[in-house]
């Protein structure tokens, strides 16, 4: 399956990554090659095979619903590039 520049541009948008024109050019070629290699997988018959999303035989791990201490507000905000009061601050999203 081929991947063209338009697709790469669209996927980069989905991934919220701004690409410079030269990056887009280079990346499109590289992804094309990588996907060409990955297409090897389509030669296998996987019709009767179950997918493994995980290798462990465990599922739905739940903890007891008991209150416990969490990270304090001050600590949670300590690394924020911008904050206002008790909140993370971001550029305005509503006019």
């Amino acid at each position: 399956m081929a991947i063209d520049k338009e697709t790469v541009k669209y996927v980069a948008h989905l991934a919220r990554i701004e690409l410079q024109p030269d990056e887009l050019e280079k990346l499109s070629g590289q992804l094309h090659d990588i996907l060409g290699f990955i297409d090897k997988l389509s030669s296998l018959d996987t019709g009767q095979v179950n997918p493994s999303s995980h290798i462990l035989a465990i599922s739905n791990v739940l903890r007891e619903d008991k209150p416990h201490d969490s990270l304090s507000l001050a600590k949670a905000l300590e690394n924020a590039p911008a904050k206002k009061g008790n909140f993370f601050s971001v550029p305005k999203i509503l006019e």
Partner: protein, 477 residues
């Protein structure tokens, strides 16, 4: 021998008998760092680093013993940036579970963190925001990756022992390139709490050490169930000191034909064959076996690992931590932050992973990869019905030159061809030094075992090590 050249178990004995002090050990390490870091660059953010005051640690086994930590494992109050611009300045407000366990055992967390490929994306440590680490055996060569800083620091004796992480070979391949011991534990053996996630179904933290005894000792401390990691497994950890026997008589070793094919360095092939002969001469019985889906491991990995990475790395958006690009529009701020904050390989993997998960391609790529992962796992299940362990080279080549594969991502991906299946199948594997090429570069022997049978790895690796001298060689620096 200087203190910094000793193994952890040798230092534990010396510290216990008061033949040396924690402060003297730290002095020796700092003196070594000062001397060789200009050549090796195993550590990051080293400017102005001075020997710190010792932390008061509990009186326990590791009291006063320093340990080197990869830059993707959270250490409270100590910068943890995954060697990425996007995590610039990040100081974790908490310790990873493995760090907590080490501190409880008395260990001193070495204040310099080890270099790595950005977010562990790479096989050479060239993708670090801070620049590459150099291989102590030949500074023109890469140390392997992504735990290249951890491995080089051990080989160059500027660390006693270290922690790395392994998603597709990131502990074993650099251990092999640097001539040290590296273990990827069974998936679920070590808590991932506080390990900054790359691919959550594959990542494991593990030891990188100077010998097998140290590796078993460090495993004993960091293994075990953790309620803070829902994928950690509640299973008793055996006493690994009992696995350090020197007896492998009657053990059945499988040698997969698929790992000895075209593309393999002929010198590596000869060295591995000699190592297998050695194990046979010690009483093991090796038989050729087949892991028929081996050739699909790399393509499966680069779908699953990138898909999981694209999701895990969504959190780096300039809001909660790290670096933020200037913009007065939110979406644009995300895009610029990620466009400027991530390096080339990170962008490549996030975009590839996003593509594999996107509408219209999910079944063809991601779902198919999950199915082939099942086939790879079943290959191992079948062999382990009749065999105690599997032996292969850790890498098809010795360390390559810095820059040699940097422009060709696919070529770089193929350097993980012998280590990736282990992560997909979730089994444990260890790399131990087993020889040198004519140019003096180390070669590693990989031993794989059944899930949760790390004891088998220590038994075979220790027996091999005690009957060879490879682990005692030191690079001339």
């Amino acid at each position: 021998m200087e203190l910094n050249q000793l193994t952890a178990h040798e230092l534990i004995d010396k510290l216990k008998d008061k033949q040396t002090s924690a402060s003297a050990v730290l002095d020796a390490l700092y003196a070594r760092v000062q001397k060789i870091e200009p050549t090796i660059k195993a550590y990051v953010r080293i400017e102005g680093a001075k020997k710190p005051a010792l932390n008061p640690q509990p009186d326990s086994l590791l009291k006063g013993l320093p340990i080197t930590i990869k830059d993707n494992i959270c250490t409270q109050g100590l910068n943890t940036e995954c060697c990425s611009k996007i995590l610039q300045g990040f100081r974790p407000p908490y310790d990873a579970t493995v760090i907590k366990k080490l501190k409880n055992a008395g260990a001193e967390i070495f204040p310099l963190k080890a270099n790595m490929d950005e977010f562990a994306f790479g096989s050479s440590t060239e993708n670090s925001y801070f620049g590459p680490t150099h291989n102590p055996w030949d500074p023109a060569c890469v140390p392997g990756g992504s735990s290249g800083g951890s491995s080089a620091s051990i080989a160059a004796d500027e660390a006693i022992w270290a922690l790395g992480s392994d998603t597709g070979g990131s502990i074993r391949q650099p251990a092999s390139f640097c001539g040290v011991v590296g273990l990827k534990p069974t998936y679920g053996r070590v808590s991932r709490y506080g390990l900054i996630a790359f691919a959550s179904s594959l990542d494991q933290i593990g030891p990188i050490t100077k010998d097998v005894r140290d590796c078993s000792l460090l495993s004993q401390i960091i293994f075990g169930y953790d309620p803070d990691d829902s994928t950690s497994v509640n299973l008793e950890v055996p006493d690994f000191s009992k696995s350090l026997s020197k007896d492998i008589r009657g053990l059945k070793i499988g040698i997969p034909g698929e790992y000895f094919v075209e593309g393999m360095d002929p010198e590596v092939k000869t060295i591995i064959e000699e190592a297998i002969n050695k194990l046979n001469s010690l009483g093991a019985v090796s038989v050729k076996v087949s892991l028929p889906h081996t050739e699909y491991a790399v393509p499966v990995y680069y779908i699953i690992a990138t898909a999981e990475a694209s999701s895990n790395l969504a959190r780096f958006d300039g809001v909660q931590y790290g670096w933020r690009a200037k913009s007065d529009n939110l979406i644009e701020m995300y895009k610029k932050t990620r466009g400027e904050g991530f390096g080339d390989e990170a962008k490549r993997r996030i975009i590839l992973g996003t593509f594999a998960l996107s509408h219209g391609y999910y079944d063809a790529y991601y779902l198919r990869a999950l199915k082939v992962r099942t086939l790879i796992r079943q290959d191992f299940d079948a062999v382990f019905k009749d065999f105690d362990c599997i032996i292969t080279p850790t890498s098809p080549t010795p360390a390559f030159k810095i820059g040699e594969k940097a422009q060709d991502p696919l070529k770089m991906y193929l350097s993980d061809i012998y280590t990736i299946s282990v992560n997909l199948a979730g089994i444990p594997a260890i790399s131990v030094p087993c020889g040198f090429t004519k140019k003096g570069l180390p070669v590693g022997l990989q031993i794989m075992a059944k899930p949760f049978d790390e004891a088998m790895l220590f038994r075979v690796a220790h027996t091999f090590e005690q009957n060879t001298d490879w682990h005692k060689s030191k690079p001339r620096l």
